[in-house]
C-alpha cells in the first residue's frame, strides 16, 4: 500500500528503477516518433513533464472529491486540457518546433504513462508526494528521450543540439532518423542495459 511519506525513492524510482521508457515501456509512440533530433526530444520531454506534473498535482488535489465512476473521464479531460494548453504555448513559442513535433504534442493525451500515473499513483497520495513522483517520472522520460534523440541525431545528422560535430563531409546515417532507426536505437539501449545487468549478475555470483 502506498503511504504518504516522501523518500528519495519517490523521486528516483521514475528516473531509474522504473524508468517509464526503458523499464515500463510506456508511451512508446512519442519516444520513437519525435526523437530524431535532440532538440525535439527535449521539447517533447519537457512538454510531457509539464502535463504530467500539472495533471498529477490536480488529480491528487481533487482525489477525495471525485466519484469513482467518473474518475477516468475526469482524468482524461484534465489531461486533454493541459495538453491543449501546451499545444498552443509551443505554437506561440516557435512554429518550426511545432511543425517538427507534428501531431505528437496532441498525442500526449493518449500517452499511457500519464493516465497510468494519474490512476495508479496521483489519485492515492497527497499532492506534494504526487508532484515529486511525477517529477521523477517526467525526468526519467525526458532522459530516455534524450538518450534516443542524441544517438539518432549524432549518427543521423552528424550534429548534437544542432552543432556540427564532424565537419561538412560527414556522411549522415539517414536510417537513424527514419522509423527503423528509432526501433533499432531503443532496442539497442535495452540490449545494452540487459547485457550490463547480466554481466553484473555474473560477477556477483
Amino acid at each position: 500500500m502506498l503511504d504518504d511519506k516522501i523518500t528519495s525513492e519517490t523521486f528516483w524510482e521514475g528516473v531509474w528503477e522504473n524508468n517509464p521508457v526503458f523499464v515500463m515501456l510506456l508511451g512508446m509512440c512519442p519516444v520513437l516518433a519525435v526523437t530524431n533530433s535532440t532538440i525535439n526530444a527535449l521539447a517533447m520531454g519537457l512538454a510531457t513533464l509539464f502535463v504530467l506534473l500539472s495533471s498529477s498535482l490536480l488529480v491528487s488535489l481533487i482525489r477525495n472529491w471525485i466519484p469513482k465512476q467518473t474518475r477516468i473521464a475526469i482524468y482524461i479531460i484534465i489531461i486533454a486540457t493541459f495538453v491543449t494548453v501546451v499545444d498552443y504555448v509551443i505554437q506561440a513559442i516557435s512554429l518550426d518546433l511545432y511543425n517538427a513535433l507534428g501531431a505528437f504534442i496532441q498525442l500526449i493525451v493518449a500517452n499511457c504513462m500519464i493516465l497510468g500515473r494519474a490512476e495508479a499513483y496521483a489519485s492515492k497520495v497527497p499532492p506534494v508526494k504526487s508532484l515529486v513522483n511525477a517529477l521523477g517520472m517526467g525526468v526519467g522520460f525526458t532522459i530516455a528521450l534524450l538518450c534516443l534523440g542524441s544517438v539518432r541525431e549524432i549518427l543521423g545528422s552528424g550534429t548534437l543540439l544542432g552543432f556540427d560535430l564532424f565537419g561538412e563531409h560527414y556522411q549522415q546515417w539517414v536510417v537513424m532518423i527514419l522509423p527503423p532507426g528509432g526501433f533499432f536505437v531503443l532496442g539497442g539501449w535495452l540490449l545494452l542495459f540487459e547485457w550490463l545487468r547480466q554481466r553484473k549478475e555474473q560477477e556477483e555470483s
Partner: protein, 222 residues
C-alpha cells in the same frame, strides 16, 4: 483499493463533478487560446511575410488576394475558398510580382511550397519550402542544395497566347539533363522530391497565372 462495498454516489454528484471539471477545463483552454492566438497569428504572419519577400526579391510589401469565380478580391478571412496569392510591390508601390502557395506529393508526404513570380520576365524567381516530411539529408536538399535553388533564379513560366495555360509546362528532368528554361534540373538522389516541386509549380502556376494576368491592371492600381 480494498473497499468491499461499492458505494454508489448519487448521479447528481457524478454529473456535477463532470460538469464542473468540464467548465473549468473549458475556461482554461479558452483563456490560453485567447492569450496565445495573437502571438500565434503574428508568428504565422511573419513566416508568410518572410517567405513572400524572399521569393519576390524586389518586393518591399505585399497584399493578399483571392481569386474566386473569376473575380479578384482582397483576402481577409483565411477560410474562404479560392486561389490565394500575395501581390508584391516595391518601395514605390509598383507591382513587381506575386507569390502563391502550392503543393504536391513528394517522397513521404505532400511538399508545401510558396513560389514567387515576376511580371517583367514572366518567370518564377524563387521557391521556398514551407513544410515537408521528406528524408532529412536527402529530400531536404531541395532547400539546401545551391545548384537546385538556382533553378528558380529565372524559371520560364510564360502564359500561352490564348491566355489559357502555360506556354511550356514546367517539368523536372534528371540531374544534368536541363536544356530548356522551363525545365528543372533535379537533384540526383532526390529526384522524387525535385519532381514534387516541379509538379507543384506546374499545377499551381499553371492554374493561377493565366487568370491573374487578366487582373494585372486591377492589381497595379492597388
Amino acid at each position: 483499493m480494498t473497499e468491499t462495498t461499492v458505494e454508489k454516489p448519487s448521479s447528481l454528484r457524478m454529473i456535477i463533478s463532470l460538469t464542473l471539471v468540464s467548465i473549468l477545463s473549458g475556461i482554461a483552454v479558452v483563456s490560453v487560446y485567447l492569450y496565445t492566438k495573437p502571438i500565434i497569428d503574428e508568428n504565422k504572419r511573419r513566416a508568410i511575410e518572410a517567405a513572400v519577400l524572399k521569393v519576390i526579391p524586389d518586393a518591399a510589401g505585399y497584399q493578399p488576394f483571392l481569386l474566386e469565380d473569376n473575380t479578384l478580391k482582397p483576402a481577409t478571412d483565411s477560410k474562404t475558398k479560392g486561389l490565394l496569392f500575395y501581390a508584391g510591390y516595391d518601395q514605390h508601390k509598383q507591382l513587381v510580382g506575386l507569390a502563391a502557395p502550392a503543393n504536391a506529393q513528394g517522397y513521404a508526404d505532400k511538399v508545401y511550397i510558396i513560389y514567387g513570380y515576376r511580371f517583367d520576365c514572366e518567370c518564377i524567381t524563387g521557391v521556398k519550402v514551407i513544410k515537408h516530411a521528406e528524408t532529412p539529408g536527402l529530400g531536404d536538399k531541395v532547400i539546401t542544395d545551391q545548384s537546385f535553388v538556382a533553378n528558380f533564379d529565372a524559371l520560364d513560366a510564360k502564359v500561352n497566347v490564348e491566355g489559357s495555360a502555360l506556354q511550356n509546362r514546367i517539368i523536372t528532368v534528371k540531374h544534368g539533363a536541363k536544356t530548356n528554361p522551363w525545365e528543372i534540373d533535379a537533384i540526383s538522389g532526390a529526384t522524387i522530391t525535385s519532381r514534387a516541386i516541379g509538379k507543384a509549380l506546374d499545377i499551381g502556376a499553371g492554374q493561377l497565372l493565366p487568370q491573374v494576368l487578366k487582373f494585372r491592371d486591377q492589381l497595379e492600381a492597388q
